[in-house]
Symmetry: C2
Subunit: 225 residues, 2 copies
């Protein structure tokens, strides 16, 4: 029987790569990447294409969407060069300034439009609730509501659901699961700050390094420090 | 007392113009326009700026966002030049091919991100439920769910709600209300097809012409036929 089609939101990072590995068991894959003016845009795009090659995703099932209007909006150290990046902490609710306002909604919305046209039945996003308590758009409740929105806001014939394969995982469980499924973690990019060699110091690098350490697995990528 | 700030989704058309006139009573206004590769993109942009001038919207409160990735996605006669525009009818559920998949969600999502940064308390959209039964993202239920999504998916401190001032209006009630509030209907653009002189034949022109006729008011713009 032919597999149903799923669109993976493939950032080029580890969480979406492992989500892809999980989804690949059940679905045929289409890959969506979004440029939003983040510092490491080009490096992420390289990782996206290499991971798509690994999973043999055809060219007409790869979509790169540009939403660089987010740099006009700003409000985040990822999209506004004038804002110094939080290296820890965050505001009173634990939201770091790497939070991009309502970002996941942009990604999911693009995916739903594309799903409606190519007939995909699922959208896969590598959101992780536990490691990102300060990111409001990574909570299970948020995705439940988004599913209702996609149901109400598309054609009657369109049936598409959001899938979050790693939402309840810890980062080290993600490393273990990825290793188990032969996900190409060596091709992923996590650093928020640098594009040549990972900085090893930004929040995203620190989370990744801790995850590999706890999993007892060697991180296949290089770091500056 | 200083008025609260509202972001108007200003397409350049009549419905958003009259929604603006209604919102202007209560709110200070910011204007958001979205280019999505629609046929009449440049003409709409002209209308957007002329209406923003009329309401004396400052330049830092005008945002133009480009989501031309919708032309890569296609699936609509507005964004795919190879699809002939439905001039009436539509599919079994009355959805015409001028429907752009999940379009309003893109618009609202951009507005929520901007609202979170500039502190706007409301987002105003000129959706009309009655005249667009085939457009799933124009129903009150859809906007109710979107409000829940914006609540769940933004920072705890962010409080922004979607307002749909004309959603229960008929098109002729919109014309009457706009005339009563001195909305600059002469500056609006409705035609989906042409950018020099309105075609008078596409669905959007026909709806507009009928609305003025029923309202007993002369449409101030010119038509080809």
């Amino acid at each position: 029987m032919k597999k149903e089609l799923a669109i993976v939101l493939a950032s080029g990072g580890m969480d979406s790569c492992v989500s892809t590995a999980i989804a690949a068991v059940e679905y045929e894959l289409a890959f969506l990447h979004v440029n939003y003016g983040q510092l490491t845009e080009q490096r992420e795009l390289k990782a996206f294409n290499e991971i798509a090659d690994y999973y043999e995703v055809e060219n007409n099932y790869r979509l790169i969407a540009d939403i660089s209007y987010l740099t006009k909006i700003g409000g985040s150290s990822l999209t506004d060069r004038k804002v110094e990046m939080d290296m820890d902490g965050g505001d009173d609710n634990g939201t770091q300034n790497t939070y991009v306002p309502f970002r996941n909604t942009h990604f999911l919305t693009i995916a739903v439009s594309w799903a409606e046209v190519i007939g995909a039945k699922a959208i896969v996003i590598g959101a992780v609730a536990q490691d990102q308590p300060g990111y409001p758009d990574c909570k299970p409740e948020y995705f439940n509501i988004f599913n209702k929105l996609a149901e109400a806001g598309t054609k009657v014939s369109t049936k598409v659901k959001i899938i979050t394969p790693v939402i309840e995982f810890t980062k080290n469980e993600i490393v273990k699961k990825g290793t188990e499924l032969n996900a190409p973690l060596n091709l992923t990019w996590s650093c928020y700050k640098d594009s040549d060699v990972a900085c090893g110091k930004c929040n995203s690098c620190v989370l990744r390094l801790n995850a590999f350490q706890k999993a007892g697995i060697k991180d296949p990528i290089q770091y500056k420090s």
